[in-house]
């Protein structure tokens, strides 16, 4: 998994720094925090994990190692919820 993309069948809305995603497949609502919202915004088309990681580390001044673990964890959860497509 090195590229991610939003599932095109998912409805979402950004409220300030939070994003609320509605999955009609599972009839569930998911809420993303500030970092999650950035990841969601970046994944409009196929985007590499490296690009996301570089952006997040630069924007929030976080160490790459910690950011990688957290973002991978977030992407795994979003993939499981069928919000993101990976390749």
């Amino acid at each position: 998994m090195s590229f991610i993309k939003r599932n095109p069948h998912i409805a979402f809305r950004i409220f300030g720094k939070e994003t609320i995603i509605y999955s009609s497949l599972e009839n569930k609502i998911h809420c993303l925090n500030e970092i999650g919202t950035k990841v969601w915004e970046l994944s409009v088309g196929w985007v590499s994990l490296e690009k996301i990681l570089t952006y997040i580390c630069k924007e929030y001044d976080i160490k790459r190692g910690k950011a990688k673990a957290d973002i991978l964890n977030l992407i795994k959860k979003m993939k499981r919820a069928k919000l993101l497509l990976t390749k």
């Binding site: 409805a11 809305r13 409220f15 939070e18 609320i20 509605y22 609502i29």
Partner: protein, 277 residues
């Protein structure tokens, strides 16, 4: 000979066609407040109503069965009222077959009409919510919550200067950057505001939760949306669920939402405070 009855429920125009004059008179009386004459006939919903002989089968339990096929058609069968309702969202044409008599027949027709409106409402920027609604000086408040949370109780307890619009179902329509409360044509109880084609601007949403005292608790957007989606009809069942989500998002963004911890045993003075607009 055909008799046509033109209606406007939640600003959505509709024509009911029936062959029996008796049936027409009965519907005209029950839907008097929603009658409307001047609208563009190309954009309206068209429903044909027919009555056939009552079936001999006696069903005790209510069974509501909605089948959606290619996300455009639905079928409702209610066994205790005996009848069938089919509606196609693409052609905007429906058919109601009532196989019972008298009041049950009228109830079945009105129930079917309500189902059709729930089904079609997202296409008209509108949603149907399981909630009670009140109006004070042309400002509307809705109280949403699951069954038993006190929706009907709260509308019975509020001060007299509030007009009760409905205690079970409300259509909320997005019109010109604002949300308006519209009445559905059916209710078990006849309130003052019912059966009138009247719209009220929506100013507050309260989600009811049982508590020891009456108090208003702030709510985050995410939680408000989660609770609202739970109370909207058609989520996960009807087509256009994404459209419903979109309307709910707009609503949460525009209309302030709160949790209302409600207890009917709390003192009367506290009760009057909870409805402050």
């Amino acid at each position: 000979m055909e008799f046509n009855l033109s209606l406007k429920i939640a600003q959505i125009p509709c024509t009911l066609t029936c062959k029996s004059h008796k049936l027409f008179q009965c519907l005209e009386e029950r839907l008097a407040g929603f009658k409307f004459d001047n609208f563009n006939k190309e954009k309206h919903i068209s429903i044909f109503i027919k009555q056939s002989k009552p079936s001999k089968k006696k069903n005790v339990y209510i069974q509501r069965n909605i089948k959606t096929s290619s996300y455009s058609k639905f079928l409702v069968k209610i066994s205790n009222l005996n009848g069938k309702c089919v509606f196609d969202a693409r052609t905007k044409k429906g058919y109601i077959l009532a196989t019972c008599n008298g009041r049950r027949m009228t109830n079945f027709i009105l129930f079917s009409l309500m189902e059709i409106y729930r089904f079609i409402s997202p296409s008209y920027n509108s949603i149907a919510i399981h909630c009670s609604s009140v109006c004070y000086k042309n400002r509307g408040v809705i109280f949403a919550g699951p069954s038993g949370s006190g929706k009907s109780t709260i509308v019975k307890l509020i001060p007299n200067d509030y007009t009760v619009l409905h205690d079970e179902l409300t259509f909320i329509k997005y019109e010109g950057e604002r949300f308006y409360i519209h009445n559905p044509p059916v209710s078990s109880v006849h309130w003052d505001g019912l059966n009138k084609r009247k719209r009220t601007p929506l100013r507050r949403i309260f989600f009811l939760r049982k508590g020891l005292y009456n108090k208003v608790v702030p709510l985050s957007i995410c939680n408000a949306l989660k609770i609202l989606m739970r109370n909207v009809y058609g989520v996960g069942v009807y087509p256009d669920t994404n459209k419903i989500f979109d309307i709910c998002c707009k609503m949460i963004n525009i209309v302030p939402t709160h949790i209302l911890e409600f207890s009917k045993k709390a003192p009367l003075l506290e009760r009057s405070k909870i409805c402050l607009l």
